[in-house]
C-alpha cells in the first residue's frame, strides 16, 4: 500500500485519518510520492557530470526494471493462463533490464580511470 504517501499526505494536511483510505486520498498519496520523488530525481541527476551520462542512462534503465515487483506478483497468481504468460514475459523483460543494466554500467564505470 501507499504507506509513505498516506503519511505524507496527512502531514501535508489531508483531513482523513491514517486508517481511512478513500480513493481520493489514495490518489493524492500516490501523487505526493510521485511529485516528491521527481523533485529528488531532478536535484540528484542535475549533479551528474556529462562524462557519466551514458552510465547514468544504463543505470537508470536498470532501476526502471523495478517493474519486476509487479511482474513477480502477477506471474505467481493463479487466474488465467494468459495472465501467467504476461507475468513471465514481464519478469523476463524486467530482469534483462535489471541484470543487463547494472552489469553494463559496472563494466563501463570500471573503464573510467584517473591519470597514471
Amino acid at each position: 500500500m501507499s504507506g509513505i504517501g498516506i503519511i505524507l499526505a496527512n502531514a501535508a494536511g489531508a483531513s482523513e485519518s491514517l486508517s481511512a483510505s478513500s480513493p481520493a486520498l489514495m490518489f493524492v498519496a500516490a501523487v505526493t510520492v510521485f511529485t516528491l520523488a521527481t523533485f529528488i530525481g531532478f536535484e540528484v541527476i542535475t549533479k551528474v557530470p556529462p562524462t557519466l551520462h551514458t552510465p547514468l542512462m544504463s543505470g537508470s534503465n536498470a532501476i526502471s526494471g523495478i517493474t519486476i515487483i509487479g511482474a513477480i506478483l502477477v506471474a505467481g497468481m493463479k487466474l488465467k493462463w494468459y495472465t501467467s504468460v504476461f507475468g513471465v514475459i514481464a519478469i523476463g523483460f524486467a530482469m534483462i533490464n535489471v541484470v543487463g543494466g547494472f552489469l553494463v554500467t559496472h563494466r563501463m564505470l570500471g573503464m573510467f580511470k584517473r591519470k597514471g
Partner: protein, 473 residues
Amino acid sequence: MSPAISSTAYLVSSVLFILALKRLSHPRTAVRGNLMGALGMLLAIVVTVKIAIDRPDISGSGYWLIGIGLAIGSIAGAIAAIKVPMTGMPQMVGLLNGFGGGASLLVAAAELVTKTHEEGWSAQSDISFFIGATFVAGLIGAVTFFGSLVAAGKLQELKWVPNGNIIPAQQLVNGLLFALCLGGAAWATYNPAMQWLFWPVVILASVLGVFVTCPIGGADMPVVICLLNSYSGMAASATGFVTKNDGLIIAGSLVGSSGIILCQIMCKAMNRSLTNVLFGKLGTTTGGASSDDVYKGKVKSAGPDELGMLFDTARRVVIVPGYGLAVSQAQHAVRELANALEAKGVEVEYGIHPVAGRMPGHMNVLLAEANIPYEKVREMDDINPSFAQTDVAIVIGANDVVNPLARTDPKSPIAGMPILDVDKARTVIVVKRSLSPGFAGIPNPLFAADNTLMYFGDGKKAILDLVAAIKAG
C-alpha cells in the same frame, strides 16, 4: 510477510536507488553507487518473491513461472551486458528502454484482467483510480516498447527499419492517434465497464510509438533515446499507481526525471526545442552558400608525413571526436596518437560536444575504454576558451558541432547552436572521409578555412598512419 515489513523494505530499496544516482556525480564514487543500486534491486526482488510464494492462492506452477522468468531474463541480460561493444551502447540502452516499457505494459494488462475477475469489481470505490492508472501504464508502456524497438533498429542501422514518414499527413495521424488513446483512457476511467478499451488503446499506442520514432534522423537520436528512457521510468511509475506500490512510483519517477533532464541538455546543445526535434524538420537551407561556393579552390588537404611535422613545434593539442570516431572504432588509435604526442612533451586534451555521438556521454565512454584518463576529457564550455592557446586541434569524424556558421550566419539551420571553437586554434586538422555534409546538410566553412588542413581517410587508419609518421619524424 506483513505489509509494514515489505513497505519498509521497498523504502530501503528506494533510498539505495537515490544514493546510487547521487554517487554517479563523480567517476570515483560511481562504481560503488551502481553496486548500491543493484543491492536495492536485489532486496526488492527477494522481498517480492517472498510475498508471492507466501500467498495462499499461488499456483503450483507459480514457483516455476517466477523462477523461469528470473533465470531467462538474468541470462539474457548478462550475455547482452558482457558482449555489447562500447560503440553499441546506444542500441543497448535503446533496447533496455523498450524492455522496461514492455514489462510495465504487461503488468498493467495482467492486473486489469485480475481486477475485472473480482466479484463486484466495477462497484469498488477506487475503480476509477485503478482503471485510469492501468490505461496510462499501458499507453506509455506501448509507446516506449515499440518506439524503442524502432530507435534501436535505426541505431543498429538495420536497413528494413523505415526512415521518414510512413504515410501521408503523418503528423495529423499521430495527433489523432494520441487523442484517441487519451479519449479511450478517459472514457474507461469515467465508465469502468469500458475497460475492454485497454487493448484497442494499447494497439493504437503501439502504432503511435512506431510512427513517432520513424521520421527522426541520426543526429536527433540522443534526444529520442533520452525521451524513451524517461518514458520507461514513467511507465514503471504508472504501474506503481496500478499496484499501489510506493517503491515502483519512486524508482519510476527517478528514471522519468533523469531522462527528461538529459533530454533538456541535448536540446539545449542543439539550440532546438523538444517539439522541434520530435515534430519539426531541420530548417531547409534558404539562400545559404552552396558547397561549391564554400569549398572550391580553398580546401587544402595533407597526408600523414606533412601533418606529422606540425607537431614538432606544438605544445598543446586538442582532439575533438564525433560520431565518425565511433563508426571507425578509432578510440584506441586516438590513444596511441596521444601517447606518441605526450612522449614528445605535447599536452593533449579532448573536447566533447554534448551531442557528439548517438547518446549523451557516448564519446566519454569510448575514450574511457581506450584508457584515456577522464580528467583530460573536457566539456565544451570548459575547453572552448583554451582553443586560442591551442597549437593543433584535431577533429575526428565531427562536422556540424564544429561548424562556425552556427556563430556567424543567423539564417543557417544550426544558427545559435553552441559549437566547439576549433577554428580558433592555430592549425586545425580535420580527419574525414570526404567533404560530405553532416546531418544539418550544410557545407562547413571550417574545411575551407586558411588554418585548416583536411586529412581524408577512414578515422582509424588515418590516425594510425599519423602516429607512424610522428614516431618516424
